[in-house]
């Protein structure tokens, strides 16, 4: 292994609609089983509500809804990944999360025009690993400020 030259990132792999996505491990707080979610009226549609994460009230985002995928009932595999992005803690509802990988930075490519059904603006890049195609998410876009602003508009 010649690791001196290769920069590696450790990522958590999660599933969404049979596709595999990744977030950097350093942003991940924990992986939780599905738990009761309290709806927050007036929040954006993709904000499912809030959960009690060991005494801390944490907002939860339904990634399926965020990416305009069809809704699906939670299964045994459904997980809430809590991530911390720019000082904000949120939970992400995903179909499953079970893998941590080391990605060579070299293997990461800029996003192609169309990847799956998700709009490219949320995608930072794609990485090929054997036969798997991993999508790197741009988390700050996923939580983006515009959405926060749209939240505020709702208030008025």
């Amino acid at each position: 292994m010649t690791q001196e030259t290769k920069q590696q990132v450790k990522v958590l792999v999660f599933q969404l609609n049979d596709e595999e996505y990744t977030v950097p491990v350093e942003n991940v707080g924990s992986i939780e089983r599905m738990m009761p979610i309290t709806r927050v009226p007036g929040a954006a549609e993709f904000v499912k509500g809030v959960i009690n994460l060991r005494g801390v009230v944490t907002p939860v985002i339904d990634l399926r809804q965020r990416f305009d995928l069809e809704e699906m009932a939670a299964t045994e595999q459904t997980r809430i990944i809590t991530v911390s992005i720019e000082e904000i803690d949120v939970g992400l509802i995903v179909d499953g999360a079970n893998d941590v990988l080391d990605l060579d930075e070299e293997s990461i490519e800029p996003p192609p025009e169309v990847v799956g059904t998700i709009e490219a603006e949320y995608i930072e890049g794609v990485a090929k690993l054997d036969r798997r195609l991993l999508i790197l998410l741009n988390m700050s876009k996923v939580l983006s400020k515009e959405d926060l602003e749209s939240l505020k508009e709702l208030e008025q």
Binding site: T38, A43, V50, N52, V57, I88, K152, E155
Partner: protein
């Protein structure tokens, strides 16, 4: 010596001691002859001096030292306690406070205190304080030149019953190895006690750079004769002079156990401070200081425990296992006790805020040439730490206001047939879930006409609006922004920006402020505050299948209303509640709650208020009253309409807390 770990403790304790000095000085002013009070002040000052010297804050320690000298004079009845003397001492305390604040802010605690030091000296030497630095340090002119630090060390050892001697040694003219003799003399001296300073310096002595005489400053428990005899045992010594160094008479009782030959004065200082600590502990309460974040952490963890406890209770009920049930029950009780202890830990007596007011009132009344008698009632009333931290400034402002605008000058008061001394009462008490703080003065009261005309002139209200105002509403005008009733702007208060800030601060704490006043009789400013900001009493309600919490503080009452009792006004549904028309607010519609329940014949309503306005919130059922821990929704969801926060219920689920103020238009 790395003193950083002790810095926080030092700052906290210094503040405490300064507060104690302040308090006792005020008492001393009341009863100038009471030497017990002087002793208390002296003790605080002394500890402060020791601590600051240990920490290396020379300015702080030397100023305290000067103050101590004056106090010593008082103690020995050489100095008479009077207003001008107290003024100087108060000034000195102010300077000390400023230094401590500087240190707390990361500074070195340096401050130009020459003026105050000179004044203290003047008092000490019996002169009237003239304001000009005249007198010379009595210690330095007599004998060896010593710096402030050494002086502090000497002073301290004197306090501990040790002697400070100026030992002058003269060697015989035919002495050959002067350095060797000096070494032997020092050997002897170190056995006796501790050499603080020598002249010439030790290096010079070792290099024989001196004539035949040298002198040292010795701190020892032995008496003069003994010292002299021991030194004379060294051969080739011509003569030895031993005399007391300090001008002040030393305390007797030499104690030998404390004598430890030390090389560096700093370390010496350290051991001295250590020896002092038992005394210090007797004065202070047995407390430790904890960062409030840790308490929050503890509380968070405890909540987790409560949730698991609820689950455990459920399991034990299902299993119907006798022993398990018993244990779980016991655990529940214990954790209940634990909860109240944790909650109580965050409570601190309001005294922390109140104790700085007597001093402030004294100063202000002098500045304003008024005579004011301040009474403090209920200083032991406890409030949450977070509230305590915030309430100080508004109170300062209200007190300043009462002194400046409320209480009249003695002449004015006499012409109104009132005693020349005004009274100001600061009172705190518990009532229900709230703490009340009242500031009562017997001053001029609020002139309603003047307030109204001023408010109209300043565009706060229109004339038509003001017509219908009751007294309460008129008084509230003085808390509107852009308002000042003082005809002249003074230093103390009255720039018209104050009272509205006070009102905002109190409201942001979840409290309210009301004013009651009678012309020429006085005013009462009454502040109502929640006991804590983190725990609130709520009414849990169900809206369809969702649970919401409504703060009890805004609820007037709950009611069940028949559908046919609902009236319509301007296409709005209203009810007649005790003779008042109250609009209905359907939470289900406001929050788009998914409908799961059939519409009922009766509405359960919670009547809430905001000021004089009311609204009836329609819910599906009442669950009950509960104490909950207020949690923020986090930054990501900040600013959600009509939701002020969230809380975690016993079953581990999150319930949102309604902000009923947002629902009342």
């Amino acid at each position: 010596m790395d003193t950083n770990p002790y810095l926080e403790i030092f700052i906290d304790e210094s503040k405490e001691h300064l507060q104690a000095i302040n308090d006792h000085l005020l008492k001393l002013e009341q009863s100038p002859g009471d030497l017990k009070i002087v002793n208390e002040i002296f003790r605080s000052a002394h500890t402060l001096k020791g601590m600051s010297a240990t920490m290396g804050y020379q300015d702080l320690s030397s100023l305290t030292h000067q103050m101590e000298n004056v106090l010593d004079g008082v103690r020995n009845e050489q100095i008479i306690v009077d207003a001008s003397m107290l003024d100087v001492v108060f000034d000195a305390v102010d300077d000390l406070e400023a230094m401590v604040m500087d240190i707390a802010g990361g500074g070195a605690g340096n401050r130009d205190v020459e003026q105050v030091v000179a004044l203290l000296h003047a008092i000490e030497s019996g002169d009237e304080p003239t304001g000009s630095p005249t007198t010379q340090d009595i210690h330095t002119k007599k004998q060896m030149e010593v710096d402030q630090f050494t002086l502090t060390v000497l002073e301290q050892s004197r306090e501990q019953g040790l002697h400070n001697y100026n030992v002058e040694v003269r060697l015989r003219e035919d002495c050959l190895l002067k350095a060797a003799r000096v070494y032997m003399v020092f050997e002897v001296l170190e056995q006796l006690g501790e050499v603080v300073q020598s002249e010439p310096s030790v290096e010079q002595l070792e290099n024989e750079e001196f004539g035949l005489t040298f002198s040292v400053l010795l701190v020892t428990g032995e008496n003069e004769g003994e010292v002299k005899d021991r030194i004379l045992k060294v051969s080739e010594i011509e003569e030895v002079h031993v005399n007391e160094f300090s001008a002040a008479p030393p305390a007797a009782q030499p104690s030998e156990s404390i004598i430890q030959p030390e090389e560096s004065p700093v370390e010496t200082e350290n051991t001295k401070a250590d020896q002092e600590s038992p005394e210090k502990k007797q004065v202070a309460n047995k407390t430790i200081r904890i960062n409030i974040d840790r308490l929050d952490m503890l509380m968070n963890l405890f909540e987790e425990l409560v949730i698991d406890r609820a689950r455990l209770e459920q399991i034990s009920q299902d299993l119907k296992h006798g022993e398990l049930q018993e244990t779980v029950e016991r655990m529940s009780r214990i954790s209940g006790d634990l909860q109240s202890i944790i909650l109580n830990m965050r409570m601190v007596p309001v005294e922390q805020v109140f104790n700085r007011f007597p001093r402030m009132v004294r100063q202000l009344s002098r500045d304003l040439d008024k005579q004011v008698d301040l009474t403090v009632v209920g200083a032991e009333t406890e409030l949450d730490r977070t509230v305590i931290d915030e309430i100080g400034d508004p109170l300062v402002h209200l007190i300043r206001n009462a002194l400046d605008h409320g209480i009249e000058s003695p002449e004015q008061r006499e012409s109104k047939g009132k005693p020349p001394t005004g009274s100001l009462e600061l009172k705190a008490y518990h009532s229900g879930n709230h703490v009340f703080i009242e500031i009562t003065d017997d001053g001029g009261g609020i002139n309603k006409e003047k307030v109204v005309s001023k408010a109209i002139a300043n565009g706060v209200v229109t004339e038509e609006q003001a017509q219908g105002f009751n007294d309460q509403q008129i008084f509230e005008l003085i808390m509107a922004s852009g308002f000042s009733t003082a005809d002249t702007i003074s230093d103390v208060s009255g720039r018209g920006v104050g009272l509205d800030v006070v009102k905002n601060t109190i409201e942001s704490l979840g409290g309210t402020i009301t004013i009651d006043s009678e012309l020429d009789k006085g005013s009462i400013f009454s502040i109502q505050l929640p006991l804590t900001l983190s725990i609130i009493s709520v009414m849990l309600v169900e809206v369809q299948s969702e649970k919401y919490a409504i703060p009890l503080s805004s609820i007037i009452e709950t009611a069940i209303v028949k559908k046919e009792d609902i009236l319509h006004a301007h296409n709005k549904k209203v009810i007649d509640f005790r003779g008042k028309v109250v609009p209905l607010v359907f939470i289900k519609d406001v929050f788009d709650v998914p409908e799961t329940l059939e519409e009922e014949e009766h509405y359960s309503v919670v009547i809430v208020r905001k000021g004089n306005k009311m609204a009836a919130l329609v819910v599906n059922s009442f669950i009950g009253q509960q104490e909950v821990v207020l949690k923020s929704l986090g930054e990501y969801l900040s600013g959600v309409f009509a939701i002020s926060g969230a809380t975690i219920l016993g079953d581990g689920q999150v319930a949102l807390i309604l902000d009923s103020n947002a629902l009342i238009k």
